[in-house]
């Protein structure tokens, strides 16, 4: 019984990060507004970062900035620095992709005069029908 409780406490952080990630995924899939989709992607991304950082955490540990520079194996426990390095890179790449996505949204709004996915799809289908009709007329004549 005690070990069960221990297991649940030990895994609860992971599950919370997964729930956060799923809420981001839900926003991306279910909302039509493109800016909201980007916000959802950001939530998704940040929760993945949290998950990674939580893997490097050690109980009772401190930030990996050396307190005692002379000793190699001092009594201080440091958390694992490698996930931190990885996530630092990922955050910067994430903002770059976000900026590109937002620029695409501005361009889409200029072409279609809308940032709603439903409207854009409707316009695309209308264009496709027009194009097909034109092609049929040309091949017939």
């Amino acid at each position: 019984m005690d070990s069960n409780l221990n297991f649940i406490y030990g895994h609860l952080p992971y599950w919370l990060f997964i729930i956060l990630m799923l809420s981001g995924l839900f926003i991306v899939v279910s909302r039509g507004n493109l800016i909201k989709k980007i916000v959802g992607l950001n939530i998704f991304q940040t929760s993945v970062f949290m998950f990674y950082i939580s893997i490097g955490k050690m109980k009772g540990g401190t930030a990996p900035i050396l307190l005692d520079k002379s000793a190699n194996n001092s009594a201080v426990i440091y958390s694992n620095p490698l996930p931190h390095v990885l996530i630092l890179t990922a955050i910067v790449v994430g903002i770059a992709t976000t900026a590109l996505g937002l620029a695409l949204i501005i361009k889409i709004r200029e072409e279609y005069d809308s940032v709603e996915e439903d409207d854009i799809q409707k316009m695309d289908q209308k264009d496709l029908k027009k194009y097909n009709k034109k092609n049929v007329l040309e091949t017939n004549s």
Binding site: G10, W15, I18, S30, S54, I65, H84, L88
Partner: protein, 161 residues
């Protein structure tokens, strides 16, 4: 909240607040460098970029009816699979997890000897993984070029029409 709000300004502000709170969570989990970057980039730059996009496009979301059942099913399925995947993981903060046993402690002991920098994260980022960081700046450069190329056509098009 972001689901039902119609005003995009509120959505973007909430997203910035979320980034700030997540930065605090990173501090709690000993990742001070990550928290620093998240607060500056996630809560700062990203919010400004989104506000700029909102100013150039629309402020209020249009009312649309979209099916909700299919996204819900997809999300639940993914969630069940991911939680099933965590069952084999070591406990949060465990000392004997595979992530802690191998490289992490090695880097902690050699970084100061090699670089003379007490901050291990900075040492690894700038030195052992210097090429990776160089690649990262290339990605940022490419994204910046893409944004410039996408947005530079805006004015010319409007003049033509």
């Amino acid at each position: 909240m972001a689901l039902t709000l119609k005003h995009l300004f509120a959505v973007i502000m909430l997203s910035g607040a979320f980034s700030l709170v997540s930065a605090m969570l990173f501090v709690v989990m000993d990742a001070v460098d990550v928290a620093f970057t998240e607060a500056a980039v996630g809560a700062g730059v990203s919010t400004v970029l989104m506000l700029a996009t909102m100013a150039l496009t629309v402020r209020v979301q249009k009312e649309t009816k979209r099916p909700i059942l299919f996204p819900l099913v997809v999300v639940c399925l993914v969630g069940v699979l991911l939680i099933y995947g965590t069952l084999d993981m070591p406990n949060f903060g465990a000392f004997d997890s595979p992530a802690q046993l191998h490289l992490g402690s090695t880097y902690l002991s050699i970084t100061y000897k090699d670089m003379g920098i007490p901050n291990v994260v900075t040492g690894i980022l700038a030195s052992y993984r210097g090429y990776d960081t160089l690649g990262e700046t290339v990605v940022v450069l490419t994204a910046g070029l893409g944004v410039i190329l996408l947005l530079s056509g805006l004015k010319g098009r409007k003049d033509k029409e």
